[in-house]
Symmetry: C2
């Protein structure tokens, strides 16, 4: 019954979903593939292909029902529920993430935080109490943590990932600029800020090289 949905399609589905939720709040009932496309930066054909992957619910001549489509995409992406998230490394970026309200609005609740620095442990930050990393196993189990975010220095990230996967975390989002290979079928995604800047550096440089065209 399940089709494999490619990574790039999943990303676009997320974007469509964000738009659809906005439309729903505004009371819009129908939306066409080209409207969705405009705001997600895709083409209308792309949108229709994406949506047709899971026997689709559009109405020829009219468009898609906002309500139904929102539900379907939430179902596919697993977003009709709230995920329990842990944060490891309550430093500069970790603290910012703890205060990121958007996460909860979109279905990700931070229920635990870990650090190794004695001055961080025990403190309550944005409503979450920081536990010592040594207690990761018990806390993850007790609070039912499903996804972890790593925001520790790059050198420690791989070992932290191992601890997390052994503690039973199901997926990891890594902010440290270190490659972490999939451990024991726990998927890992890395967000690397500097990598993105380097991509922009390439664009600026190659453009300059080819005479600004």
């Amino acid at each position: 019954m399940s089709v494999r949905i490619s990574d790039s399609t999943v990303r676009r589905l997320s974007l469509y979903l964000r738009m659809l939720r906005g439309l729903r709040v505004r009371g819009v009932e129908l939306v066409s593939s080209s409207e969705l496309a405009d705001r997600a930066g895709a083409t209308s054909a792309q949108v229709r292909k994406d949506l047709s992957l899971f026997g689709s619910c559009g109405k020829r001549g009219r468009g898609y029902e906002v309500d139904a489509l929102t539900g379907t995409i939430e179902e596919i992406l697993g977003l009709s529920r709230v995920w329990r998230v842990a944060l490891v490394g309550v430093g500069k970026i970790g603290t910012a993430l703890l205060g990121y309200e958007d996460m909860l609005d979109r279905g990700f609740r931070v229920v635990a935080a870990f650090d190794i620095a004695p001055d961080k442990i025990g403190r309550e930050i944005f409503g979450v109490t920081v536990s010592p990393l040594s207690e990761v196993e018990s806390v993850v189990c007790e609070k039912g943590v499903e996804i972890a975010i790593i925001a520790t220095p790059p050198a420690t990230a791989p070992e932290v990932a191992v601890m997390l996967s052994e503690a039973g975390v199901g997926a990891i989002l890594n902010f440290a600029p270190t490659r972490i290979s999939e451990i024991d079928y726990v998927p890992v995604r890395t967000v690397d800020l500097v990598l993105e800047l380097e991509g922009l550096s390439y664009l600026l440089t190659s453009r300059r090289r080819n005479g600004d065209d």
Copy 2:
């Protein structure tokens, strides 16, 4: 003379470069495509294809010269220099970014910061003085800002992007979960944390649906 290098290749080049710099510090002189591949999460054939895009410098039977290859990739990506970066929106994430030393180590120096909140303006944070957004044009020009990072609330991000491109910024890295379309040939990359979490949500959900295989 210039070949178009695809986005995914550019990303991998960044990863190779990071590894190469590490090897250089450790005094390693030669590296094979399979060693590079291991740590970048690619295959050796992929590495060789990537490197052969720009008439390559490998030695059959031995591998690639770490030093020469580092230089070549830095040249291609435009990383043999320091880029001047501005940060707009000195809130939770913006402050964390100002304190992110790794950026400078990798060739991106934050030379200006902007906000609209009166209590932020004029303060010096991690060595950078916060200017009012209204002065963006003069400050960008004066300090020679080439790349800007947007860390303002999502609703204001698009208008900030317009101001930045009009002020002469060459590229934008956007942290707000809003699509910003390319304005006037200024490339924009968006880093969307929640989108990444949603991708993980999909993986966990689809796996569960298909019986953990």
